[in-house]
Amino acid sequence: MSRLKLSLVVFALAGFVALGLGHLGSSAQSPPAAAPVGVTAAPAPSCTPFPVPTAPFVDAQLSPCIPFAVSASDFASVSRAQPAFDVFSWRSFVALNWPTDGTTIGQDGDNPTVWETYNESYQVFLADGSAPHWGAPVDVPAACKGANLPVFRMKQKVSDEVLDERGQPFRTGPLIDQRGDYVRYAIHLNKETFDYVLDNGLYNKEGQAKFASRPANVVDLPAGTNGSAKTSPVVPPAIGSIVIKSAWRLLDPTKDKLERYHKSNVLVYTAPSDDPPIKERCEARTVGLVGFHIMHKTAAHPQWIWSTFEQVDNLRGDKAAGVPATFFNAAFPRRKINRPPPMPWNPNVKAPPSQIVRDIPIDQGAQALNKQWQGLLRSKTPKSVWQFYQLISTQWPTKAFIPDPKDPTKRVMNGFGAPAPATLGNAMLETYTQRSSSCIECHKNATTTGGKFGDFSYLLQRAQPEKKP
């Protein structure tokens, strides 16, 4: 059977700079040192539940505390509720990008982040179907063990193997920067998600089938909550399942404005494939973060909360700073916009640059919040790379529950939950379907390998058959 395998895997090299590639220069321009494997950055003990903010959101503050949930009980309208979710997004962005070394976010420009200590999907759904270990080192593809490459310690791998790991969902096509290079992607999941998969044996096909054989079993990933002191027993605050999808472009240290990107030194790996014919390749590169999805499941929003960010130079650049757009070239106004490159798609071959515009503008509320948070980052840490990221929007279910038809005193999850905004796309991650893309409506179709409800996560269908020793 033909299976498109644009396997684009990126490995990080710790100690990359020390190994002779020191031209990356100052700390603001060089990728941050890798965090130790398997570090879980738990919220600091002082983290408190996230109150519903009220305009004008004066509570913007840089904090390592990942917000647990949005308490949404009494919103008057969607437009009045939206800022609560957008602030949740910015707080999540800052906390997830918080340094793992005890410093403040962006104080040295760039920094290693909490979320990069999470495990990637390939570390959870192993090729042989065996049980994963949180933070365990991973076998490097043979192509990456070439004579000219040093032995290295794994930090992360950006892979692109099945369904949405291919970067753009459902074969809608790759995204190409102005130098003709393919954008690469990674998916990370937090310890809460990992533990649920492990504890329920969902990391291989047989485990998923066994789980599903009990009719009452439905995949139900952990949900975040602000907790409640009023109930008995008291419900403590908790972080829910967090899944992060990131998009990266290859940087040229001599040409790109490295001080405007969160960076990583990695091995860019293209897995081989017969159908279509693609050759295996592995290459050491510095990559910069251009797109960033945060998906967080919470009890009040079982359709999850979907936050999405982009690097600010993606589509417009910054004229004042002399920075051209990365995915748009104003010198070619007649280029067809938002169109995938011609087939065949092969990441080993340079492709015509994509000409990308944002189909749906960032709304005024998010724009104002972006100014506020970017300003805060800039004022506290002038060199911070994080000031060069912007929130696109946050999608959330406006009507998460309906009364249970069988027992109106109870409530059940309400399908898509009437998501707001109705569509939301990241120009780096849903480039060609921005106009119609709805995170929740698409991810509601996510299933296990057996076609059972996958709790809005396509990760579960990556599970492989268990290989008997």
Partner: protein
């Protein structure tokens, strides 16, 4: 004319036959050019979805383009066919029928097709049944029609391959009826063959019908309901999602859980096949010396809605010739025949068109005329949930009765009376309008003027009990059921439009009558109330009198199209009586292959898509062998 590259293979048409051929040939390292008349399909199907949502009549064609240069037949044209016919006769000069097909009767051809990459698989139901072994030997077994030059066993490995490519759900354990056999697992010959995906669950409605049918016999056959193998995902497959039961396979699956041929167009392109859009092939050129096809003449246009008139801007149309070592025509049954007929020249042997020394091109046009019977069940069945059809009754697809009347399969619809009456719209409107209003002729009328909870309860009470059978009746090859080139009318490019003469013979009419009788028998057994209404004045009405019943009066039936356009270039061993041989090669031109349902020798009763795919994959092997 511009000088073109010489490809290994030039394919006309990017539907399922062209797409699968292009994919298999490109994957085998052959250079492939596909010419298609449609515009490049949108990057996201949401453009089509929007057109569907906003269409008043949600016909199979409603989401898709209908351009002046590549017009398509429309379901809504069929009701007007007699009027069009009369107007044509009255105003011979200066009148152009709005419908693309020029219907000459005596009955209208009721099926339609798309002219866009992906073809009519955009709105196939996903039903992926194999033909029966007996379907290949109709003449031998029952003295009817003619035999195929290949057998079920010849095609069986390619059915397996097609099921893998399309992604078919099913359980071989309940599909081995009427002599259907399954070979070995292609990946592991020590194991029996299994469908690539598990069976899609039967709907609640199916199960209630199955229970109602219980154990009964008809025409000497024991009747049972069985789940249908389907080209839609029951588990993640080929990087596509599982079916979410949108109940919209026709006209469009919103999430591509159902296979369509754009998938193999993309796969072919990933192997380097070139797809040339907005290009209509209008002539197949033949080298007078060798008798081989020497090129495909095409017209490429910038705007598919801009007719080719003397005032059209320069550069809006470009003619060219696509050249290859081998040529494959995969333009669907009507367009393929039209192209071959339109290629007639005064060269020797080409007076009636290319590949037409047998005079069979355009003849033996067939469909599966669909007998619709619909009823109210006593208890709610909850239609409008799940794929459009998840089960059927396959028991009457074969039997000794085929000596006398056509076989049929019964599709059990999951969409109430949507096809038959346009529900839930019709019932809602009838319940709202004042007075007593009809939903199904005089057979079912409702008291209108309702509002509030009365309206809710009435709509629910009626529609949740609706169900329908659609019996796909076998049709035999008939020489005079044919397409010709219209002498009077052309499309926007000046190419003659297809003119159709079509009728349904007594073998099929008799099968139709049996299908109706069968539906009534099941309804009665279930305690359901038949609500089928037949208007004698309907432009699709035809009569049949049961010859075995001396007291029988003529009964009227309504013709419906299945969208299964078959025949027109039939496959056979005898060059004098068929267009292509068993390897799909033209009897007349060694480097010309014709693929798709146009080659079907007879129709059987299986929805044709899976057989089209299997035959095409078989033909691709012959082409690859030729190119070695």
């Amino acid at each position: 004319m511009s000088q073109e590259k010489i490809y290994d293979v030039v394919i006309v048409g990017a539907g399922i036959a062209g797409a699968l051929a292009a994919y298999k040939l490109a994957a085998a390292g052959k250079s492939v050019l596909v010419i298609d008349g449609g515009k490049r399909t949108p990057d996201s199907r949401d453009a089509y979805m929007q057109q569907f949502y906003l269409a008043m009549a949600k016909t199979p064609e409603s989401p898709y383009p209908n351009y002046k240069n590549t017009p398509v037949p429309l379901s809504l044209d069929i009701g007007n066919w007699k009027t069009e016919r009369a107007l044509e006769d009255a105003f011979k000069e200066g009148y152009t029928p709005p419908g693309y097909l020029i219907q000459k009767g005596p009955l209208p051809f009721c099926s339609t097709y798309e002219r866009v990459a992906g073809g009519t698989t955009w709105h196939w139901s996903g039903t992926a049944l194999r033909l029966l072994p007996a379907d290949f030997k109709l003449q031998t077994n029952y003295g009817r029609g003619i035999d195929w030059p290949i057998t079920y066993d010849d095609l069986e490995p390619f059915y397996c391959e097609a099921e893998q490519e399309i992604g078919v759900t099913g359980d071989t354990g309940n599909q081995g009826y009427h002599g259907i056999t399954f070979g070995k697992d292609p990946k592991d010959p020590s194991k029996p063959y299994a469908y690539p995906m598990p069976e899609i669950p039967m709907s609640y409605l199916d199960k209630q019908v199955a229970q109602g049918v219980g154990s009964m016999s008809f025409d000497g056959q024991v009747v049972s309901v069985s789940p249908t193998p389907q080209g839609r995902n029951s588990v993640p497959y080929d990087e596509r999602r599982v079916c979410a039961g949108n109940t919209n396979c026709i006209p469009i699956c919103p999430i591509q859980a159902k296979y369509d041929a754009t998938i193999h167009i993309a796969k072919a392109a990933q192997h380097g096949a070139k797809i040339q859009y907005r290009s209509i092939a209008d002539k197949v050129l033949v080298d007078p010396q060798t008798g081989l096809v020497s090129g495909i003449h095409y017209v490429k246009f910038t705007d598919p809605d801009l007719p080719r008139t003397p005032t059209a801007p320069q550069g809006a149309f470009k003619e060219g010739v696509a050249k290859g070592k081998i040529y494959v025509i995969a333009a669907h049954a009507i367009e393929t025949a039209k192209l071959l007929l339109n290629s007639a020249t005064d060269q020797q042997g080409l007076a009636d068109g290319v590949a037409n020394r047998s005079d069979q091109v355009g003849r033996n046009l067939m469909d599966h005329p669909v007998q619709l019977s619909y009823a109210f069940n006593r208890n709610p069945l909850y239609p409008f949930r799940g794929p459009l059809a998840t089960s059927g009754i396959e028991s009457l697809r074969d039997g000794p009765f085929r000596q006398k009347h056509a076989a049929f399969r019964v599709e059990i619809g999951n969409e109430g009376w949507n096809w038959a009456t346009g529900d839930p719209y019709t019932t809602l409107n009838a319940l709202v309008s004042p007075g007593r209003n009809s939903v199904s002729g005089p057979n079912h009328t409702v008291q209108g003027g309702l509002f509030g909870s009365d309206l809710r309860n009435a709509l629910n009470g009626f529609v949740t009990r609706e169900f329908r059978f659609g019996s796909l009746v076998e049709q035999l090859p008939i020489s005079e059921n044919r397409i010709r080139l219209s002498k009077d009318y052309t499309d926007g490019l000046g190419i003659p439009r297809p003119e159709i003469t079509y009728d349904v013979d007594d073998y099929t009419r008799s099968g139709y009558a049996a299908a109706r009788k069968f539906a009534l028998a099941v309804f009665q057994k279930m305690g359901a109330t038949d609500m089928t209404f037949v208007n004698d004045a309907d432009p699709t009405a035809f009569q049949f009198t049961d010859p075995d019943d001396p007291g029988a009066k003529p009964e009227t039936y309504l013709l419906n199209g299945a969208g299964h356009v078959m025949g027109t270039c039939r496959m056979g061993a005898d060059p004098a009586a068929s267009v292509v041989g068993p390897d799909h090669r033209s009897h007349d031109h060694k480097n010309l292959f014709i693929v798709g349902s146009s080659v079907f020798t007879t129709t059987g009763t299986a929805n044709p898509t899976l057989t089209i795919a299997a035959l095409t994959l078989m033909a691709a092997d012959a082409i690859i062998a030729d190119l070695k």
